[in-house]
């Protein structure tokens, strides 16, 4: 497949305030960034810093309190424009959301059939094809409960991909996996990214993972989440396990770790000052 030319995302000074029971919680504060069409961006930050919230705004589950989100040159979300979720921006969730009552194949086919973009036969054929590419042949008729967690995550990514989204929104998809499965999944995702050229927004709290996978890594501060640091990752693609032992990778990683550590220390000290008041 050729590199897709669409899927450019721009966030302009986006903020979001939750107010459950009138208590205002500033979850995301003044975030601005751009993801070029066909780029892989990772967002890294500590737990509870607003990563999921940021993703939810692009997905259309939350409306920004301030700021605007632009996709391919049109403003799709702002305090006055309510964005609805849609198959051009498919989300893969932190906790996994395969429907347990449908088999793997049914899960994958569901999107296109329901939208009416494909007939049942086309959808099944396409789903089988993508499942095969992903090494998931032979478990089409299993229920999600009966396959390993690594396979579940892969099925979920496949389910997103058959909809031909412009943007793939991945919310810590590999969080619950063990190290072995994780590295297999990394390779899978990298191969997939090289093959499809979709825009990817990948959320994680693991800096290593972010540098290994992404073109650009944004580091967020603790809540309220701001974008604090931008790391350009100029490692050549295609990447594989060997990339992790190159000098450039180690250099980038150390640089990033220092920056993040400094950031964390600053946040910690500021916290102490605030406590002392």
């Amino acid at each position: 497949m050729a590199k897709a030319k669409e899927g450019n995302v721009i966030a302009k000074h986006v903020s979001l305030v939750y107010d459950p029971l009138g208590v205002n919680v500033l979850a995301v504060a003044d975030c601005s960034f751009e993801i070029e069409a066909g780029a892989f961006m990772a967002i890294v930050g500590p737990s509870g810093c607003g990563k999921t919230t940021l993703l939810n705004m692009i997905a259309g589950f939350d409306t920004p309190t301030e700021g605007e989100i632009w996709v391919d040159g049109t403003c799709i979300a702002s305090p006055t424009i309510r964005l609805t979720p849609g198959p051009d921006r498919v989300v893969v969730f932190q906790h996994g959301a395969l429907f347990p009552w449908r088999t793997v194949l049914e899960n994958v086919c569901w999107g296109p059939i329901m939208q009416g973009t494909m007939t049942r036969e086309e959808a099944v054929e396409k789903a089988r094809e993508v499942l095969k590419i992903s090494g998931l042949e032979g478990c089409e008729n299993e229920y999600p409960m009966n396959i390993s967690s690594g396979m579940q995550r892969r099925v979920e990514i496949v389910r997103a991909l058959v909809n031909e989204p412009k943007i793939l929104l991945l919310d810590e998809p590999f969080r619950a996996l063990d190290a072995m499965t994780k590295s297999v999944m990394h390779q899978y995702l990298l191969d997939l990214f090289d093959a499809t050229g979709k825009t990817v927004m990948f959320i994680t709290h693991d800096l290593d993972e972010a540098i290994y996978l992404a073109d650009r890594v944004f580091v967020m501060t603790t809540r309220p989440g701001r974008l604090k640091q931008m790391i350009e990752v100029d490692l050549p693609r295609p990447r594989n396990m060997k990339t992790k032992v190159t000098d450039r990778y180690i250099e980038l990683r150390n640089e990033a770790l220092n920056a993040v550590h400094e950031e964390a220390r600053k946040a910690f000290e500021r916290g102490e000052r605030e406590m002392a008041k």
């Binding site: 997905a59 989300v91 409960m145 009966n146 690594g150 929104l169 072995m180 390779q187 191969d191």
Partner: protein, 292 residues
Amino acid sequence: MEAIQMNKVEKNTDQVDWASRIDGYTEHTPFQKFWRRSMRGIFNLSNLRRILSLVIIVVLWHVVTTLKIPPFTRVPTPYEVWVDALSFIPTMHCFMCVIFSMGRIYLGFTIACLIGIPLGLMMGWNRVVKNFVFPTFESLRPIPVISWIPLSVIMFPLTEHSIVFLVFLGAFYPIVLNTLLGVESVRADYIQGALSLGSKPRHIFFDLILPGALPSIFTGMTVGMGLAWVMVVAAEMVAGGYGLGYMTWESYILIAYPRIILGMFTIGACGYFSSAVIRHLGNKAMPWRSLF
């Protein structure tokens, strides 16, 4: 891509024949193997304990009734009940009692499902419906269903109708409540995921809410079936007619004590059978869960 195959973990450990893994264990012939398997299936320690517990209960029953220890002075012995069972069960009268009670259960319970499940689904799906229905529902629910017996006898000119109504009422509350609970327990992730795949409300209702609520709906039906039997027995005892409840009560009036116990057992057996049917339907309707 080869590496991806790696995490296909070996599954189905429960199908491994553990005995064959023990040192020094050898299977000789296929017949030995078969014999061993089936014996292990029937005469394992767990089943022996289960049978033993039943035997102990019957023995205790025998002891307390033959020794006439109060309050068991007038309770028939297991043997008397057994003799009565042999003479009563093959009769037409017994058959009709079962048919009548079952028929009332079937009617009342089906109506309860037909009204209760859609009502519960709508309440969980639409806040307006819930706002309108739930307060009424919750204010009527604390009234024990048994206390509806006099009113329902007044309301319906035919005994048959009032009994079916009471059965309906007994099954209705748990079915509605559990259905509502089931709808509300569907994970928000699934809904968000479906929305992001581009689904419309209709798809969310039929493809997510309904299957997501199904386990809870079947729980409600099981509980509802239990209460339906409570109601049919109580209503038959009061309102009369045919049926197992009526038969049991009549036996008391006629001083046929063994038959009281027999009536109780028959009611228990019918109740068990009804629950088994629901469980079976549940497993059929939810193939993804029968693998747990």
